[in-house]
Amino acid sequence: MSTSTTTAGDRPPAAPRTREATARGRVLPFPITGQEIVLIGVIVVLWVALSLATPAFLTSGSIVPLFVATAPVALIGIGMTVIIITGGIDVSVGSIVMVCSVVVAQQLVASDLSLPVAVLLSVAVGGVLGSVNGVLIAYGRVHAIIITFGTANLFRFLGLQLFGGTTVNGIPDTLAVFGRGEAGRTLGVPHSFLLMVVIAALAWYYLRHTAGGRHLYAIGGDANAARLAGVKVQRRVLLAYVLTGLLTGLAACFVIAQGTATLAPNVGDGMELAAIAAVVIGGTSIMGGRGSVLGTVLGALLVQTVTSGVTQLNWPSQLASLFIGIFILIAVGADLLRQRARRTT
């Protein structure tokens, strides 16, 4: 929202464009921001470099798993983008993944659920946990990071209790539709990635072209001003956390599908940080009020490219985190520079 107002600038040549924009009744920024173009460029450069270094990289045997592995983090990232746009954050999503996946895995083993029921169950559990966060944050009026640190522990406790000190073994391949294997793709396109792209497109439309979506940006820009302008702040904030819970539930299904027939209690570890990293690399401002889902998807793709690139180059796999850290710093630095440039012109 800040971009549109600042372009009504002091330089004369800018004037006709602004008039045209107001004539169309649109105050929306250009659909693709600079960060996203840069990200696409970086990903392309990385892919070219990696395929030169290891010829196996750009083959379908390597690229398809990369897309499949991107899907869950990107999916959680979409929800996280919505939350961060409102000025909040959710560090409990890793624990939500754990609870959802253990519930679903155990039910798959015990009562042989069908695919739709399993997905619905996972999404419902995620939604309930997300609404716990949402209610506490929106109506308890406490800082999001503190509450979600707390609920992360509570959810983890719940998950560990469900695990009961062992792993879940012999999970049937009901969810293979979302997996890496042949069952997981149509014409070479993995279903999980496709589903994630569809959801990202819906979220993009919602955030950009509906009143409800614009309200989320307004809340992130200035919650008090938004409230005075008639935005139902608490309800919108609650919605953002419930939405993230639902998406995290779906992501948990992807995680089960990508794993083996055994589910260990460390499932979901570190996913909250990976999702936040994807969001931030995608150009969403951690202060709220600015950001896009497209950037997040690209950010998740970049993170996953780095991770699998490091493995394929036979470097120590932990080195990937170092690069992710550096990419976060570069992305935020670029964002700061752009903000500064916008303020001065």
């Binding site: 503190i146 609920t151 522990n153 919650a223 932990q318």
Partner: protein, 366 residues
């Protein structure tokens, strides 16, 4: 525009002397005053909770509900886990108090990386212990300075900066020695020198006397008896106003992150001695050390918006959690016990946060 927004939600008046209008009859207002003290003075609340926890477990212990006696010597032996908790809690106190969304997610990663560096210096290069400890503190400070430079001088949001450095430092810690811990003879001997010492007949872990107490005292002196402390509270409360009074806001904030790094570096030494090996995942394994440290700081009454926080609150909060955890381990033995510790930590944190919100609404911003 976006930078200053987060901390401005409640219009906080820094004046401590917000005396309410005079009320009648002192006796009648006593319950109200007690309630007010309990709700607004975090230290009072923590003391009450601490006493409640200890009394509960002592009573349970005397009725033989616990798997081992919960007595003074058990409680003092449990303090070993308070050492990293209090020290990192104090590190978070410094950083969070510095304001503008200050937080440090990277303390655990700093502990990991510094552990390895300390392990190299003391275990492999044969440095003397004092020199190696100095190196650990300096190296931790250097890593903290990276955070501080990015946050204070470049203007990065603290949450993101420390998330990025968390990734970078923890990765380096693992790669630096190809995932291998360092446990050469000098480091193994470090474990035997760190045996509990007897104070008034109680086995007190050595780390509490050599590291925890000095750190707590130094941080307390720093915050309450030096100009820097007053500056830190000033920039945390309102950094624009602080700037106008002539405080070098950037430098003060930078120093807070640097000091947090130094404290984390010292925690690395304690951790190495405790494990008898320098482990590359010392501060990042499982939940890591950062989340419990932030939890302790928040529970201890440090306001996440900056400018408010006391050493006593952090210490009491850590004692509460440590003795609660120690009791849980006796009441629920084995694996389930550690799970209930997670539950207790989460529940206490959510409770404390909700209470903060309630008191702010009821008594106004403190």
């Amino acid at each position: 525009m976006s930078t200053a927004v987060t901390s401005s939600a409640p219009a906080r008046e820094p004046g401590p002397s917000t005396s309410p209008p005079a009320r009648p009859s002192r006796l009648r207002q006593l319950p109200a005053a007690l309630l007010r003290a309990l709700l607004t003075q975090r230290i009072v609340l923590l003391l009450v909770l601490l006493v409640a926890v200890v009394v509960t477990f002592v009573v349970l212990s005397q009725r033989n509900y616990l798997s081992a006696p919960y007595d003074a010597s058990y409680m003092s032996a449990a303090l070993i886990s308070a050492v990293p908790l209090v020290m990192l809690g104090l590190a978070e106190l410094l950083v969070i108090t510095s304001g503008r969304g200050g937080i440090d997610l990277s303390v655990g990663a700093i502990v990991s990386l510094t552990s390895m560096v300390f392990g190299f210096a003391y275990g492999e290069w044969g440095w003397s212990l004092w020199l190696a400890i100095l190196l650990a503190a300096a190296f931790g400070g250097l890593l903290g300075a990276v955070n501080g430079f990015l946050v204070a001088y470049v203007g990065y949001p603290a949450l993101i900066t420390t998330l990025a450095t968390y990734y970078a430092f923890s990765s380096l810690a693992i790669v630096i020695n190809a995932q291998q811990p360092i446990s050469t003879p000098p480091i193994q001997q470090l474990y035997s020198t760190a045996q509990p010492v007897s104070v008034l007949g109680l086995p007190v872990p050595l780390g509490t006397l050599t590291f925890l107490l000095p750190t707590a005292v130094v941080v307390w002196l720093l915050l309450n008896r030096t100009t820097y402390g007053r500056r830190l509270y000033a920039i945390g409360t309102n950094d624009v106003a602080a700037q106008w009074t002539g405080i070098d806001v950037r430098r003060s904030r930078f120093t807070a992150y640097l000091l947090a790094g130094v404290v984390s570096g010292l925690v690395a030494v304690v951790t190495v001695a405790q494990f008898a090996s320098a482990r590359p995942d010392a501060g990042t394994a499982g939940n890591g050390m950062a989340l419990p440290a932030i939890t302790i700081a928040v529970l201890g009454g440090v306001a996440i918006t900056g400018g408010i926080g006391r050493v006593a609150g952090v210490v009491l909060a850590a004692l509460l959690v440590v003795w609660l955890n120690a009791g849980i381990l006796l009441a629920v033995p084995g694996n389930a016990g550690t799970q209930f510790q997670l539950f207790a930590l989460g529940a206490v944190l959510v409770f404390a946060a909700l209470l903060n919100g309630l008191t702010t609404r009821r008594y106004g911003a403190r």
